[in-house]
Subunit: 256 residues, 4 copies
């Protein structure tokens, strides 16, 4: 539930599948407030009063992503893994419309294969993987990018699932991070994409089997990304427009 | 029907909706062999023996795009306008799989709103438009790009439909052409995108109401694009891969 | 001279060549406080207390760009035209080092041919031009970009010098604006580039012969760009580093 | 010396500093025909009759890069390490003009710090390094790129100098390869850039202390890159152009 904050605060909805925590004692112990809980705490830790947070999960009606909730969401973070197929197509299309109208989207780790991410990318978003607790090093290759502000080079994550190339995504608009794993694989682990008026960030680190969402640098990156993805403009989905010659004489569109 | 050519020739399928030609005498007169016929002739004019051409239209079974036809297609060009919704979802998904596995796709003019193009882009692909016979100037902004080889700067098209910004596409991988129209609008009219192993080119010029596909420079651009979009590699859709540590010792993947 | 502001305000130096204003009565009348004065007023208008402004010109010792001034500058805007060659190579190299270490740079109009801009780009930065008072329309093609926030689509500038393609710059990292001119030419008029830790924005509008720096939307874009170009990190020029294996165990670099 | 080939063959000049081979017996043994000799053999192996090769070194008059040689060169490959500063500024500027006019440039390994590469990039081109014979894995992240055609994923190089991020280059137009090293670092090891009408490819692998230019996959990449970098157009350096309204009525420019 959102806490009472000034209306100028960034309204963030943290979506989590919420299944591993119920089915696997290790995950429940690792993430006593749910994985979404840990993600939300990390954002709150960094953005403080500047953000109003709520969480939503698969099990809620409409997965907690009603028209009303989305209308009041500036940035949505998404984590899912076991049950991508169980997410309703209607909700996915609703989220997609909001992104195209300007809502930010942060896709975390296994959300690479979520319906919403693959739908916005157009590709399979498949990758190479292995889960043997390898060390992940996250290297910044765009040091002037606000999402990389304040993180060490490299970020060291002692234990992680390996995600490796080829990662079948469109060429990112900006490549912020590249990860390496002990086994030798590399992964484009921090990527931005623009779709319509919306900004999307994909971030590789984060898994149910490792306490990655408690890692201070991972939390900072996610918080940076939330701030970066905040909508800039008015917010309507782009639409087909018939325009007479010189239509802008009255002042032009408020936004393209 | 494909003519007998050596197997190394580029296999090109030119897809046309084929409706305007039947419903509008002006279009039929302008394009006596169909719009797809004009597109195919333009490609043949430039690629000669290097290409084997076939055409396919909406009215054919499976729109002429069976698994067999697609398996034998290196590059597919697409023009549609009136009946995007009548294209079967199954055929669209089949084409998409082939693009992700490496088939080139050339989306022409009003194909910006085709199911296959919007599905691969993830955005609305909407734009601004007006059809009053304006002059379009096509300016090259990437002169080292093979798609721009041999065309004048600018290409002058005396009469065209206006397509203007904001064009709701992902940021193109490469921006080759920008058009201006007499009315003052601009349009990113030559854009490349990579999706999976496939290469996509969107080209703005071309309309049923103007003889644009008879324009020598437009034909040259389309032929250049067909050559550029030819697949490079072996050709399988990217897939999720579980990999043991050091799996590449046996030689690595033939392609990522 | 900088006004006394809190140290967290953005420190902006507006550099102007300052020659046209002295040699041409029309320019002096159009820009009574100098062209740099008009640029500075536009920034102040939008950023208010958030920015501390100073101006500097060619005629000052070291062109007003001493090590001390640059060390206290977060973002530098640059306008020059007649006397690019008279700018000292030493000052240019000093500015370049500061940009690579994180200082933002806004290159305005004819600064496309300044030593500092061409040095950072590596290309000729030549273009096509004509000065007959044409209408320029500035179209936003990246509506989610903060530099485009709050401007109409298109920005209408009644009279401007024409700058047209081919503009010999590297492919921009982000293309924010495309302009058209009454004569039919187009121009990539809003382009971002990253170099080292620094962010660079090139903006086309602005000329001594037209009152473009009094145009409210042009002023807004420049102010947006100043905010966008503010440094993110600590600030040292990238350098060659020899690193032992596992050197990051002590915590990694503060910035890459 | 060029062998007699038909004029349509690609004219390639392989430039090598040629010092290590003279000063260090290990290098001389490893590269009995010089490092440039090994690079040239690798290109010949793949391009055969399609390329006419010559080599040039630092010690030759004008470093072997006279106006005549450059006028007859379509693609230049560059390897240097010890003596970047001894390369004449005049020759560097001559090479730069040719690149801007369309000549391809392949910068190999330590050429990251050559005058010609840094001059075209505008940045410091510094990086992190360590030479302890680590295994380098070269991963393809752009499988549809012609430079990646036919190479395994990953390319395995048993012993190499480590080059790591942050690599201070402009954002590449295309990122083709990312390398990892045994020590954990990553490196953007295959990058394309366009400058003027010219195409540039930077490729990380290759060092005097390891036999990397005898590696079959490294040779294939270099040969692919040479083919990719071949000029497309007529070939004049971009220049400032004053243009009257409607100047294109006579047919437009042959190239932008």
């Amino acid at each position: 539930m959102p806490s009472p904050k000034p209306p100028t605060a960034l309204r963030v909805t943290v979506w989590g599948e919420g299944l591993h925590e119920q089915r696997d004692a290790g995950v429940a112990e690792r993430y006593p407030d749910g994985m979404h809980g840990a993600v939300a705490q990390g954002i709150a830790e960094h953005l403080g009063e500047a953000a109003v947070l709520r969480t939503a999960t698969l099990a809620e009606p409409e997965h907690g992503l009603t028209e009303e909730v989305l209308a009041e969401t500036d940035v949505l973070t998404w984590w899912g893994h076991l049950a991508h197929r169980e997410v309703s197509d209607e909700v996915v299309e609703r989220v997609r419309r909001r992104v195209l109208a300007g809502m930010g989207l942060i896709a975390l780790h296994s959300a690479h294969w979520s319906k919403i991410f693959t739908r916005l990318m157009g590709t399979t978003c498949t990758l190479r993987w292995r889960s043997v607790g390898e060390r992940e090093l996250v290297w910044t290759v765009d040091p002037a990018h606000p999402i990389a502000a304040g993180v060490p080079h490299p970020i060291v994550i002692e234990q992680q699932e390996m995600y490796g190339e080829f990662f079948d995504i469109p060429v990112p608009d900006e490549l912020v991070f590249i990860s390496s794993f002990s086994g030798g694989e590399v992964f484009r682990s921090g990527c931005t994409f623009r779709r319509g008026h919306g900004r999307i960030f994909y971030f590789g680190p984060g898994d149910q089997d490792y306490p990655v969402y408690h890692h201070p640098d991972v939390r900072r990156v996610i918080a940076n990304a939330v701030r970066w993805a905040a909508p800039r403009g008015g917010g309507a989905k782009p639409r087909l427009e018939h325009s007479d010659t010189g239509w802008w004489a009255a002042g032009g569109d408020e936004q393209p």
